[in-house]
Amino acid sequence: MTTSASPLGPLHPDVEPRRERLAATALPRESQLELYRYLQLNRRLEDRLTNLYRQGKVVGGLYSSRGQEAISVGSAYALGPRDVVGPLIRNLGSLLVRGVAPREILTQYMARGTSPTGGKDCNLHFGDLARGLVSPISMLGALVPVLAGVALAAKYRGEDSVALTYIGDGGTSTGDFHEGMNLAAVLEVPLVVVAEHNGYAYSTPTERQMKIKDLAQRAVAYGIPARIVDGNDVLAVYEATRQAVSEARAGGGPRMLEVKTFRMKGHAEHDDAGYVPPELFERWRARDPIARFERHLADEGLATRAELDAILADVDRRLDEDVDFALASPWPPPERALEGVYEEGET
């Protein structure tokens, strides 16, 4: 069976992430500069981590969101303080927007005793409900039903908070994704799923993972309204998420966004991505979300180069401090391994 044209086609004028102009927004200048800061913090923190990895300071694998920063940053920026996010390994930007400090990420990746999990878990695998963060789950798809449950709890209590989680193109082939999406639809819970279509799942291109062109087609089958969004336009991601979140908050049930983007590195730092045709990297490098946003800020007269440089200097200063903190941090005491299997507090 061949796939026919996407049933969503006409609904989504902005399928092609090639448009140079970014989406219209009512966000004031200060907010746009804040987005810029998060985007750069995301990228520069990952650059620091890459260096630390090469120096053997990162314990285990290192995962990059290069080229996808606009998705995490733009979507998390559209959330309210009581909303809850379930990020995946490439959603560093979402954590930063939720108030996570670079040193928390650095100490996690470096397995130090000062990390949010005290050394028990790795990389972005930590959560903090006080900041609306659920810890990632490696088993792909698993966060979808879990975040549907977070949304169910809000609906149950009559609260208006929304749950948001992410899934990769590859992850949408799991049973958990299917069950979670269908369940969220039937229970009409306020869940927003951001599906990052970045072309590859490890070495496997999308066309060998599914027979459909758009992940949004999956949402149609669940009766979940979906939109396709340019994932390399931080304003488009922000605006689409804001819209989806407000519909979910208003009781409209789950929403899905398919964000078109590209994974600009290998699956992880050890993977040279030799299986990706170099032209693809070339084509997507021209759509780099940060460079595009900088041009937007300049074209719209929102910031001078000097103002952007001041932001960068501030980001670098912050990172210097936090890298030093992480490097100076001790290893965890071995006996900590025994602690915390059970909750010992009040029921």
Binding site: R112, H125, G170, W331, A337, V341
Partner: protein, 332 residues
């Protein structure tokens, strides 16, 4: 990749031994095919299947979407129809996503309606590589109590080769766990003409007189390390490498314990609910009157696998912990 173990003896890593077993069995039998994530062009996350797509083509080396339950179910179906699927999980932790297929269907099929399911389910397992809770599993105990499954967990390159070929030829579903710490660290020589080694047969990894350590997989090497230390103190431990956990070579365990009169089960699992517990129970039931000391278990903490090296070192058994326990049992 043209050398085979059926030619002259060759030195290989544990990982290469597995790749060769797959290739040799695929050459020998057109019914054998591989299925899993990134096993084809990429050659698998750990490169176990590197080169196999080139030799055997996409009909026999099948890349899948991320759908563990789906491709395990499909492998069961193909196996029932007479094919010999070998399923790879990118990390063995993700076999959890196919638990229902493995335990409820593959394991019970033969008993329920007489239809055999010749199937191998394999993948990288084990800790000591800072993989944390989701990438360090030793899942043998989850499957040990499930009827109808066989479980192989080798320690040496030669065993990995011969037992994998035997697993593929076996008419039952066989779980084949590959400790990833051993992949490139353990090397061995595949003897000329080696094809299969029998499932269900333990191997005497070291002869000794004072105490028997029953173990498998990466822990065999830990036991050997401890044995060297203990030998310098005049304590000679015997090491039984089970190789196959199910069916378990009870005769080999009992024969050794009846000789040394002391038994310790060493395994990389949380002690509670472990396969080690089953080994200990068999010894207590059948060799009680030969014992000069209680049967001991040395394993992991009853916690998820922690990430940071000092925590994971504390969590895992090692030669020093083993030697300390052996000294207590021998002097007690």
């Amino acid at each position: 990749m043209s050398a085979t173990a059926t030619g002259a003896a060759t030195e290989v890593t544990f990982l290469e031994a597995i790749g060769r077993a797959l290739a040799d069995e695929m050459r020998a039998d057109d019914r054998v095919f591989l299925i899993g994530e990134d096993v084809g062009r990429y050659g698998g996350a750990f490169r176990v299947t590197a080169g196999l797509l080139d030799e055997f083509g996409p009909r026999r080396v099948i890349d899948t979407p991320i759908s563990e339950s789906g491709f395990t179910g499909a492998a069961i179906g193909a196996a029932m129809m007479g094919l010999r699927p070998v399923v790879e999980y990118q990390f063995i932790d993700f076999i959890a996503n196919a638990f229902d297929m493995v335990v409820n269907f593959a394991g019970t099929n033969r008993y329920r309606w007489g239809q055999k399911v010749p199937l191998v389910l394999r993948g990288p397992s084990g800790g000591r590589v800072s993989g944390s809770a989701f990438h360090s599993a030793n899942p043998e105990a989850y499957f040990h109590r499930a009827p109808g499954l066989k479980i192989v967990y080798p320690a040496t390159a030669e065993d990995a080769y011969g037992l994998l070929r035997a697993a593929i030829r076996d008419p039952n579903p066989v779980l084949f766990f590959e400790h990833k710490y051993l992949y490139r660290r353990v090397k061995g020589t595949l003897p000329e003409g080696l094809e299969t080694l029998p499932l269900g047969r333990a191997r005497l990894a070291r002869a000794g007189r004072d105490l028997t350590v029953i173990t498998w997989s990466a822990m065999v090497h830990v036991a050997l390390e401890a044995a060297a230390t203990l030998a310098a103190e005049g304590i000679e431990i015997e090491i039984v490498d089970l190789r196959t956990l199910k069916p378990m070579d009870e005769a080999a365990i009992l024969a050794s314990v009846e000789k040394t009169n002391r038994a310790l089960v060493l395994s990389e699992e949380p002690v509670t609910g472990s396969v080690a517990g089953d080994v200990a129970a068999r010894i207590a039931e059948r060799a009680f009157w030969s014992l000069d000391a209680p049967v001991a278990r040395v394993g992991c903490l009853d916690t998820p696998v922690p990430y940071s090296p000092p925590l994971e070192d504390f969590y895992l058994p090692n030669a020093a912990k083993l030697a300390a326990r052996v000294r207590e049992l021998v002097s007690g």
